[in-house]
């Protein structure tokens, strides 16, 4: 067994358990229903997506609001993953099995991510409608799904970190929402203007390069730019590594 595979020993078992766990309780179904209602509402609402008014054969109306829905719903998916494990003491059972901390952490992340992917792909009726009504840019739609999954991934990694930090699911949820909102707000024009005014153009460019919303938008336009892809990958990995370090400290508390 290679060193890398060894480091993630037990990941598969944890992934399977956690993924099934979402569907073993009503929580998973409730999440999916809320997600679909919220995304559908924001898509067709006259105040937000205006899908019906714009009469364009694309799904910008759907995808551009998904990060804001995720800010609340992804922490809800993540909050249980470690907080519950630590509260009930099963973390001791888990980490004395032939499962590494890294393996279990990544397993939980992938389970949450897979669950989010299932939820996101249940928006397929919107794609179906657009295809029926016009001739959409399939590349852009595919890229938008990729971007959505990447955004869900990075927010899930944030949520997982706070779940590892607090035994209390509610606290983990609130902290994760706050951190995710902060992460998203870096990208809104008002923040960037403010930063530019006070710290100058260079800092503004740095901050804007850290904007999840900008990178998300770049990708949803169908431009699979390397730096945007790297942004998501690096931040996700970074949050995951931080979370593993946190868990290493908190697991025994």
């Amino acid at each position: 067994m290679s060193d890398l595979a060894r480091r993630f020993t037990g990941m598969r078992a944890v992934l399977r358990r956690e993924f099934h766990g979402y569907f073993a309780s009503p929580l998973g179904y409730i999440f999916i229903v809320i997600f679909l209602i919220a995304s559908g509402y924001l898509m067709v609402s006259r105040d937000f997506g205006r899908f019906l008014e714009l009469r364009e054969a694309n799904l910008d109306a759907l995808f551009s609001y998904l990060p804001w829905i995720f800010v609340v719903l992804v922490p809800a998916v993540a909050m249980r993953l470690w907080a519950e494990e630590r509260r009930s003491g099963t973390v001791e059972l888990l980490l004395t099995l032939p499962i590494t901390l890294e393996g279990s952490y990544l397993g939980k992340f992938l389970a949450g991510w897979a669950f989010l992917a299932v939820s996101v792909f249940l928006t397929w009726p919107a794609v179906f409608q657009v295809a029926r009504l016009g001739d959409p840019d399939w590349g852009a739609i595919l890229a938008s799904y990729v971007a959505t999954l990447l955004a869900a991934g990075v927010l899930l990694a944030i949520g997982l970190l706070f779940s590892a930090l607090s035994k209390n699911q509610v606290v983990a949820f609130i902290l994760a929402v706050a951190a995710s909102v902060g992460f998203l707000l870096i990208g809104v024009p008002q923040t960037q203007e403010f930063v530019g005014k006070w710290f100058g153009g260079y800092v503004e460019r740095v901050v804007s390069s850290l904007s999840l919303l900008d990178h998300f938008e770049t990708l949803t336009r169908g431009l699979l730019q390397l730096n945007s892809l790297l942004f998501f990958v690096l931040f996700t990995v970074g949050w995951l590594v931080c979370g593993m370090l946190v868990l290493g400290q908190t697991k025994t508390n």
């Binding site: 037990g10 944890v14 358990r17 099963t90 059972l93 004395t96 099995l97 032939p98």
Partner: protein, 341 residues
């Protein structure tokens, strides 16, 4: 004469004597030829300024059932968490089946079955799904057979489809034991396996543990001394992170204050006179009249002195004569209080 023979002896002396006399304490029937499965040397762990475990060393062999006894906070759980690799020690080494825990926790975890305190389990899962998860995590090839086997061993067949959170404490504990046994490990670490169970449930779990002891090594912690007598062939008393006594439950009973003390009722004559006569005998550590009117004479050497007692009683008539067994909890209180003071 040894210090332990006196009920009122100073406890630190008990500890010192214990260390000196440790080899003697191993009874002839204890098998020291078995393979050493757990070897702990100078194990130390601090929590901030508190020394939870303070330089303990011991070995456990195949066939041993070692009971960790000690008051709450003595370091039993911490020591077990370090043996299983969940906690890292500040100092010292642990080898399980010849493998260094610090160097290869994964390999060690494959040899150990562990029941953590309160037997945590995923409450939302059914018993069978939970065991399947453990089997999968342990990469067992014949998972179905293994699950069947432990369902049988732990008497869980009737609840296999029930979610764990709906089970009683006794069943939950057995689910914890079942997961610890699923890979048929050489080493079992059980942290308070019967704590919080009712007497019937306790007996079931104790019988189960006894049935598992052949060809394995088991370390269990408990603060129930009867349990140590029932299931263990070796008892280690821990207090404030240190090993005070490492012996067999039988040897501990023999060393307990009041072991082989003779009690009787004086039917004709003055009980106080009898007690005074007995006290004067050189084999007697002391005799006194108990609040109920009975006389109790305690031997200095812990031997059965019934004949000497009867000889000393002489003309007086006595009834209800009996020889008392030492009580582990009295020794335990003596030994552990000395350190706490």
């Amino acid at each position: 004469m040894t210090a332990t023979d006196h009920p009122d002896s100073v406890p630190p002396a008990v500890a010192a004597e214990t260390e000196a006399a440790a080899p003697e304490a191993t009874p002839p029937e204890a098998d020291t030829s078995g393979e050493v499965l757990i070897s702990v040397a100078d194990l130390t762990k601090h929590y901030g300024a508190i020394r939870a475990v303070d330089g303990i060393s011991f070995q456990v062999r195949r066939g041993d059932v070692l009971g960790f006894l000690g008051p709450n906070g003595a370091g039993k759980t911490t020591a077990m968490k370090m043996i299983t690799g969940f906690l890292e020690p500040d100092r010292g080494s642990i080898e399980v089946a010849g493998i260094d825990v610090a160097a290869d926790r994964l390999a060690v975890s494959r040899r150990i079955g562990y029941l953590p305190e309160d037997a945590p389990a995923y409450g939302e899962m059914t018993v069978e799904a939970f065991l399947r998860f453990i089997a999968e995590a342990r990469e067992l090839e014949a998972a179905d057979e293994a699950i069947d086997r432990v369902l049988e061993t732990a008497h869980l067949r009737s609840v296999r489809g029930q979610t764990i959170e709906t089970l009683s404490k006794g069943y939950k504990r057995r689910v914890g034991l079942a997961q610890a046994l699923i890979h048929d490990p050489d080493v079992l670490i059980l942290d308070e396996p019967t704590d919080g169970l009712d007497p019937n449930q306790k007996a079931v779990v104790q019988d189960l543990i006894s049935s598992l002891s052949a060809n394995r090594c088991i370390v269990l912690s408990t603060h129930i001394l009867d349990e140590a007598e029932r299931v263990c062939n070796r008892a280690v008393i821990l207090s404030e992170g240190r090993i005070l006594v490492d012996s067999t439950p039988e040897a501990l009973v023999a060393r307990a204050p009041g072991h082989n003390a003779v009690r009787f009722r004086v039917t004709e004559g003055d009980a106080a006179d009898v007690a005074a006569t007995l006290s004067a005998a050189d084999w007697c550590a002391g005799a006194r009249v108990l609040p109920g009117g009975e006389v109790e004479a305690e031997p200095r050497d812990g031997q059965n002195r019934l004949n000497d007692v009867l000889a000393a009683v002489g003309e007086h008539r006595v009834a209800d004569v009996r020889v008392r067994e030492g009580r582990l909890d009295e020794l335990f209180r003596d030994v552990t209080r000395g350190v706490a003071a």
